[in-house]
Structure formats: C-alpha cells, structure tokens
Symmetry: C2
C-alpha cells in the first residue's frame, strides 16, 4: 500500500531536493495584516519555489489568527500547492504544521479537519497525551504524522531533555523516549519525527535509535541550525529520510525561487560530499 512516506520519497526523487518550504505568513512579512495578504504571500512563494520543494508546510497559526477568513485562505493555499503539482506533473505533499494533540473523539475531529476537509497529506502532532491521541490520525493510513520529538526552541529543555526511566531500562532523555514510543506505535509505517537542527546531539541520538525514520528538521538558518551538520548527522544510510524546513530563509529572500534553487543545489553538493566521505 502507498503510504505518505513512499509518496514523499517519490517527490524527493522527482525534485532532487530535501527542502520543505515553510509557509508562515507572519503579519510582519505581509503588505497588510489580513487573510487575503497571507494567502497571496503563500501562493507567490508556492509558485516560485515549487520546482525545488519536496514538501510545503503551512503553519496553521498564521491563518487561524485571521479567523474564518484565515481558514478559507489556508484551504486556498493548499489548493495552490495542488495546482502547482499538476502543472509540474509531480504531486507535492502538504504537511500541516498544527501541533495538535487531544483525546480520542477530539483527535478524530482534528484529523477530519486536516486530512479530510483541508486535504493535507501529513500533520505535525504533539505527543504529550500519548498513543490514543495519535491513533485517530494514524487510522488515515495513506496520511502521515510527524510527532514532536525535540523542538528547536530554548524551552525544549524544560521537558524534552529530562531523563525518564522506563521499564527497568537506564534513563533516556524524554525526546528519546518519544522516539521509542513512536516506533512501537508505527505499525502502519506512517509516523515521522520533528527534531530541531539547533539540537545536533538530539538529532544524532534520534537517528541512532531510529535508523529508518523520516525526520522533519526545523531551525536551519534564522534559528541558528547548521545545514551541513544536519545533513551529516540526520541523513539515513540511503541518503534520504530527512526533510529540511526553510521558512524565512526563502520567504524573505529577494528572489524566493532563486533562494530555493541555490539551497537545493547546496544540499545536492553536501550530499555528494557526504557520500564520497562515507564510501
């Protein structure tokens, strides 16, 4: 059966890119702080960067803040990705960055919103409520879930680094525990993880513990994470398994298309160097 990750792998091959283009229409970046301006901002980025985008990741908050009009805009932005996919003849996945997490029937409603109504192909989720808060999303078998594991912000240390003891094994940081839980929940092969590039040691630990998992990596660029380090540490043995999210580095470039193209080429070069140094 086709899973989200087989679909994503195909797109990564089609465009030779590991870039996830973040769509974060922050009011400060818009001509005016409206839902319409947020939509135009995103559609323009989509049009310019689609050939180099392994995925697009709209951030729900920057639409939700505009109320009903914002949700209308989010729907149209996702349709904009579908239109570019058709134009290019290669389906580009949409990862809804929503970080939802709630109990069973509520989680079902969030899944229905993201996957059903909006038509996103994957979603970011918060693991704090445990397995039954994730299952309603996993039951959409052709869709994907990225569980927050180690986030890129300073506050990540408040919980995610604390050593937790589990079933008599030596304590591991909470984010490694999430990684282990994710593997036990992943019978449908539709769970990936979110690990910030600002935390190379966490990325190294997660990759060691889960050699095959897809990892979505925010925090490269503006937040200080280093691209070469992230690729070196995070790529799977087969040179895939990593999605590098770039938001402001593309959106605020004078020419977002050129910025995405350059970044894609930089990644291809780094991947080539890694392959030759590893072989």
């Amino acid at each position: 059966m086709e899973t989200f990750f087989s679909f994503l792998s195909k797109r990564v091959d089609d465009c030779s890119s590991l870039i996830c283009v973040g769509l974060d229409p922050h009011p400060a970046d818009l001509v005016k702080p409206t839902a319409g301006a947020a939509k135009e901002f995103c559609l323009s980025i989509i049009k310019k960067t689609a050939p180099y985008a392994a995925a697009f990741k709209p951030n729900a908050a920057f639409f939700e803040m505009h109320g009903a009009e914002g949700w209308e805009a989010l729907q149209e932005v996702i349709q904009g990705v579908q239109a570019e996919s058709e134009r290019l003849g290669s389906l580009i996945p949409v990862i809804l960055d929503a970080k939802r997490g709630d109990i069973a029937s509520t989680a079902e409603a969030y899944a229905s919103s993201a996957f059903g109504r909006l038509g996103a192909h994957a979603i970011t989720l918060n693991p704090y409520l445990g397995k039954d808060s994730i299952e309603p999303f996993l039951s959409w078998k052709e869709k994907g879930v990225f569980l927050l594991c180690k986030t890129s912000n300073p506050g990540a240390a408040d919980l995610q680094d604390h050593p937790v003891a589990h079933e008599g094994q030596p304590p591991v940081p909470l984010h490694v525990h999430i990684d282990r839980l994710a593997q036990t929940w992943n019978s449908g092969n539709n769970i990936g993880l979110v690990v910030g590039a600002t935390q190379p040691e966490a990325l190294r630990r997660v990759r060691a513990a889960a050699p095959g998992v897809w990892i979505l990596v925010p925090g490269v660029g503006t937040q200080g994470g280093d691209l070469a380090t992230a690729l070196d540490i995070g790529l799977r043995a087969d040179g895939r398994g990593l999605l590098i999210n770039i938001s402001r580095g593309i959106a605020r470039a004078e020419d977002p298309g050129q910025a995405a193209a350059q970044l894609r080429d930089e990644m291809i070069n780094l991947q080539r160097e890694l392959r030759s140094s590893r072989s």
Copy 2:
C-alpha cells in the same frame, strides 16, 4: 490588577457553582453535521445552562472540522456566552479548549487568535515545548492559561506518569514536574492546570504540591471520574480552586438546564458535607 482567576472566582461566587460547561458539538449529537447545527447546539446549551455555569469551554476541534464556517460558528458561540452574561448581569468566562503549543512567534499568533480575535478569557495549552511556548499567552495579563498536566485519557500514562529526575531532587512523575514548572512560570498569577478526574492520585499529588492553583478537571461522568472524590481531593482549603468540566452529561440530558441545576445542587451539598467533615 484583575486577573482571569479573580474574575473566575467572582463568577463562581455569583452562581454558587464549580461547573464548567463543555461545548463539544460532536457531529453525532447534531441534527446534521454542519457548522450551523454546531452553533445552534451550543447556543441552546448556553441559554439553558448559563445560570449554573461558572465557565463555558468550547472545544476548538469540533468547530475547526467545519473549516471557515466552523470558525465563524465558534466566534458566534463565544458571543452567545457574552449575550447571556449581559442578560444575567454576571460575566461568564470562556475557556477555549485548544491545547495549542508552539514556538514564540507562532504562539503569539495563536494567542492573538484566541484572546484577541475570538475574545476567549482563557485557553488550554500543551506544555511539551516549554516556557517560551507559554509566555506569549501569559503576556496577556488579564487572560488565563490552563496547562495540561495529567489528562483523563488512557494514553496519559505513555508520558505523563514517567518519573523524571530534576536538579538532583528525587524523581517525580512528569505531571508533577509540569506542576512545579507551572509554579515557577506563574509570576503573573495567570496559570491553572488540567488534571483529569479519572486520575484521583494525580489530582491528590497536584493539589498537595500546589495548594493554591486553580485546576480544571475533565473526565467526571461519561469518562468514569467520580464527582465526590474529585471535590474531596481537589478543592482548595477555601473550598474553591476547582472547575469541574461536564460536557456530555449536560449536552445529552433530556433537559440540559435541569441537568446543570441538579449537578450544581449536588456539588453544593457535597461541598457542605466536606466542610462539616473537615471542621
């Protein structure tokens, strides 16, 4: 300065009730699965139960699932609470059950959505991303935040019960660690906690560790939590500090107003018994 919790305390006194009426317009409870039906369902409950409601808690998911129209409906439901407040001459707080959690500028956008655009008085938040994911909400000083601490679902045990070690102190369950973090973050006195009634031991631990905090308690009734136990364990020494959320127990009653009135009276009797057994 007036805080959310002084406002909530006043309302609790005005209506002699600790009931938080959950507004969860689950499609199965509606005449048809539309945003309009969700709105009418909630407005009807609000009208019938307002005299007995210490607060209303709309669940964002059951609106979000209807897209833009759902967000429009959510806005109108919150306005419906405001209209009943005016009619009764006592302001009833609205707690948006959204369980959001994201990094700084994204958290700002979610706060602007909940507190600014929707006009909610408080919000439920997920603590997994740490302090800087909560601060943008806390900076709305007259608004309130309920941090998820121990949730009422089975999956809560996957993370929230694990012993975590912190700064050389003996390990405590993660939910108690959240409680401690919340106290260090609570300089503006605008943080409460969410602890499920299905977890009486957790409620006991949290109340012991934080004698003054407001606790929002889901899980009484349909999910199996016992009301008398929750009040006995969870009430502060002053007989306040607890909000008991009831959703289906009121919404699915033949007469929601009567169900809320009976529940309020039952709580008053239980509180009286507790006072006399404690004195």
